[in-house]
């Protein structure tokens, strides 16, 4: 632990700063330290792979396929399309957002669209990269939702 980190924790212990402030200072300090260490550190940390497409597939079980079940679904949605679609919501006028918020509250969902920022969209899309859903139905159909 560096001297600066100790000082921040001491300030927090003496209640001279709040937990939020301490957190902000610590993260700023971490960023600064990373900056000082230079590009070597950045090169060492692997960048998480960003998915390009959201895929939804439904494949029949091979046995059912032989029996004549040909139902298949293959959907590929570019992540950039999802991102662009989400950006549309930020263009909604204030009154429309209030109405959407009110309708969601009526359904028991406490979600305020005004709190959504463009950075949040990127974070949401990045979080989607780790999404993987595999469901096998009773008739052998395999449903997969994943990002590639």
């Amino acid at each position: 632990m560096s001297e600066s980190q100790k000082k921040i924790l001491e300030l927090l212990e003496n209640k001279k700063i709040t937990v939020d402030e301490a957190q902000r200072l610590l993260s700023a300090l971490r960023g600064e330290e990373g900056h000082h260490e230079g590009h070597v550190l950045r090169d060492r940390t692997p960048k998480p792979a960003r998915g390009k497409y959201l895929r939804v597939t439904v494949q029949p079980d091979p046995e059912h396929e032989r029996a004549g079940n040909v139902d298949r679904v293959n959907v590929r949605v570019p992540m950039s399309l999802i991102r662009s679609g989400m950006k549309f919501s930020s263009l909604l006028p204030e009154e429309a957002r209030d109405k959407v918020g009110g309708a969601l509250r009526d359904k028991g969902i406490d979600f305020d669209m005004r709190n959504l920022k463009p950075e949040d969209f990127d974070e949401l899309i990045d979080a989607l990269s780790e999404l993987e859903v595999d469901v096998r139905s009773s008739d052998g159909e395999m449903v997969r939702v994943f990002v590639e």
């Binding site: 040909v70 139902d71 293959n74 590929r76 570019p78 263009l91």
Partner: protein
């Protein structure tokens, strides 16, 4: 880099087995642009009418939102961004009736 969609592959299920067709969207884009320029004054008039009122309240509110979004620079940019994000989109559904396919290239 984003680019506008060039081709649309469309296959609709039917009794006859159809091979599907390719629609050249790149030929439609200049037409759409020309239509947008022609319709711009009309949109302005509609926007003014919608702002002043006169229609039923619910329709008015919806129209105000749509016109407001489309008439703003941000709205147009977002729409262009949305259209330019469609290449790569593919929906392919096969069932007993046939195969439905939309692919944007």
């Amino acid at each position: 880099m984003k680019r506008p969609p060039l081709l649309l592959r469309l296959r609709i299920p039917g009794k006859k087995r159809r091979p599907g067709c390719w629609l050249p969207i790149f030929l439609l884009l200049p037409l759409a642009l020309a239509l947008l320029i022609v319709l711009a004054p009309v949109m302005l008039v509609v926007g003014a009418v919608v702002r002043r009122g006169g229609w039923r309240k619910r329709q008015l509110s919806t129209a105000r939102v749509v016109v407001g979004m489309l008439c703003s620079v941000g709205g147009i940019m977002a729409l262009v961004g949305l259209i330019c994000s469609t290449p790569g989109l593919r929906v392919d559904v096969t069932d007993d009736d046939g195969r439905f396919e939309i692919a944007v290239i």
